[in-house]
């Protein structure tokens, strides 16, 4: 007589982070696993909280920009862009055309920088070190450009209400023109290195997939949502600045899995290059800043405004309230990473433990922005 004997199993908890090399910052998640399968995941955030929103209330409109640089510290120009559009809306000034084009050029180049950073780190998560070196070689060209523009490699503090801090340096546009073909080639090289690699495909295809409806319910934006096949891009759906005049596509994925998120970003880099090329042809000579009375200690009329832009990570929104005077009354940041991260438990359900790092990497979180 054979009696069936079953082993009593207990779900195990695995703690990943906050000081784990694969968590892309100080992020902690507790995985509940049944054997190799993940049953549940609880993300813990807040390790990089610096109280940006409170700090902003005690500083002048101009000074707040330096904290914006430090929220999403891989896409600084994009953050400044969003905040300053909000300030300009309250001030009622319009930046000159040269400044608008310069902002778009820098923001799109910064999108490429950010996606290259993702590319390198994602390859590293999959166990491939080489893509990291390729991506950083390309990224360095742009970082040097940014240094020549703003004087800093990371914390630029270059956009100002009504335009730019100073004009683009001499020969900058020519330099961008020279670099773009090199960059295109570099992105193609990165593409051949990883996109068709069978080992990489087996680690990414079908992993961490969520449906479009689920992604929308969680409030996902940016490449995460587009990978699910939703053609949603703030530059298209709620156009700002001079984006309506520019011609570009919004790449989307099909299945919403880790691989699609990767692919959407690689295609977005090419689209960004297209945008920059158009801007380079159109950028006029002229002033770089609209004069504002009492600059840099300008006074802003009472009012509230919400502005959102398409950051490399998604829909980045600033809700700004002014009660008159030189300081904002309230600055609320709608952080795309934070919302994307909340979909992580849904993505990880029934995945393998080894895939947890890949799925987290595909979200491309920046903890400075999640915790702010």
């Amino acid at each position: 007589m054979i009696t069936e004997r079953r082993l009593d199993t207990v779900d195990m908890h695995i703690n990943v982070g906050p000081q784990h090399p694969a968590t892309h910052g100080v992020f902690r998640m507790v995985l509940r696993v049944d054997g190799e399968r993940i049953v549940d995941c609880v993300p813990y955030i807040g390790y990089l909280h610096r109280g940006f929103e409170k700090l902003a209330e005690n500083e002048e409109f101009q000074e707040v920009i330096i904290h914006l640089d430090r929220t999403d510290y891989i896409a600084q120009f994009n953050n400044e862009f969003c905040y300053l559009m909000a300030v300009e809306k309250l001030l009622g000034v319009k930046p000159p055309e040269r400044a608008e084009y310069a902002r778009i050029i820098l923001a799109e180049l910064n999108r490429i920088v950010s996606h290259l950073m993702f590319y390198g780190a994602f390859g590293g998560d999959a166990g491939a070190i080489t893509p990291f070196l390729y991506a950083f070689r390309e990224r360095e060209r742009l970082q040097r450009l940014f240094e020549s523009v703003s004087g800093a490699r990371l914390m630029h503090f270059y956009f100002r209400a009504g335009g730019l801090k100073e004009d683009l340096p001499e020969g900058f546009l020519e330099e961008v023109r020279r670099i773009l073909p090199v960059l295109k080639q570099g992105i193609d090289e990165c593409d051949t290195l990883l996109t068709e690699n069978e080992v990489f495909l087996s680690r990414t295809v079908g992993i961490g997939a969520i449906s479009a409806q689920e992604a929308i319910d969680y409030g996902c934006t940016g490449p995460i949502l587009r990978a699910c096949g939703v053609r949603e891009d703030v530059r298209r759906s709620d156009p700002y600045s001079l984006y309506p005049t520019l011609d570009f596509d919004v790449p989307v994925g099909k299945k919403g899995d880790t691989f699609d998120r990767y692919l959407v970003r690689v295609q977005e880099m090419r689209e960004s290059i297209r945008i920059v090329e158009q801007c380079l042809d159109r950028i006029p000579e002229g002033p770089f800043r609209t004069p504002i009375p009492r600059y840099p200690h300008y006074r802003v009329d009472p009012g509230e405004v919400y502005v959102h832009t398409e950051n490399p990570r998604g829909d980045y929104g600033i809700y700004l309230i002014s009660r008159g005077g030189v300081q904002p009354f309230r600055v609320k940041l709608r952080s795309p990473c934070f919302c994307n991260l909340m979909a992580l438990p849904a993505m990880l359900r029934d995945a393998y433990v080894a895939d947890a790092v890949m799925v987290l990497g595909s979200l491309d979180i920046v903890l400075g922005e999640v915790d702010r």
């Binding site: 060209r141 020549s148 290195l193 990883l194 996109t195 068709e196 690699n197 080992v199 495909l201 840099p296």
Partner: protein, 158 residues
């Protein structure tokens, strides 16, 4: 298998490219003209005193509060040599806290402070807290270097 081979071909091609890495302490890439290092104070050559009057506006607006400034009556004004009634007495910047944001340069009413190219300033206290003469020297050195080419030209790869 084909994808892996394609990647191998790519790495093989890259193997023959010129390296872009710079062996840092021995060779350095030149800094961009706009590079923002740590701030220094500018010396007024015509009169022989700093431009800074010690008005403390930079101290107030510094986001990390790394500056300490005091003001005094200008002895040269009493002697009729200078038009500045007040002049800086002490000026210290805690470089270990400075984030090189250039807000001090932007708010300065007398254009007395500028971002120099000084950046390799790791050290112990009090070496990381330059006082007035050292800050003036930082700016002086920076201005002396500025028109000149960097010591070693970069390879034209980036």
């Amino acid at each position: 298998m084909i994808g892996v081979l394609k990647g191998l071909v790519q790495t093989w091609k890259t193997h023959w490219r010129k390296p872009v890495t710079v062996q840092y302490p021995d060779e350095r890439l030149p800094l961009q003209p706009r590079y923002m290092g740590f701030p220094g104070l500018i010396w007024d050559q015509a009169i022989g005193e700093p431009f800074c009057t010690g008005c403390q506006v930079c101290m107030r607006y510094c986001p990390t509060q790394c500056m300490y400034v005091t003001m005094q009556d200008n002895p040269k004004q009493a002697a009729g040599e200078s038009k500045r009634r007040k002049i800086v007495e002490t000026f210290t910047i805690d470089i270990s806290r400075c984030i090189s944001c250039a807000i001090c340069v932007e708010v300065c009413n007398f254009d007395a402070i500028e971002m120099t190219h000084a950046h390799e300033r790791a050290g112990y206290y009090p070496d990381v807290v330059p006082d007035l003469p050292q800050l003036l020297k930082m700016s002086e050195d920076f201005r002396a270097q500025r028109g000149q080419k960097p010591a070693r030209e970069t390879r034209d790869v980036l």
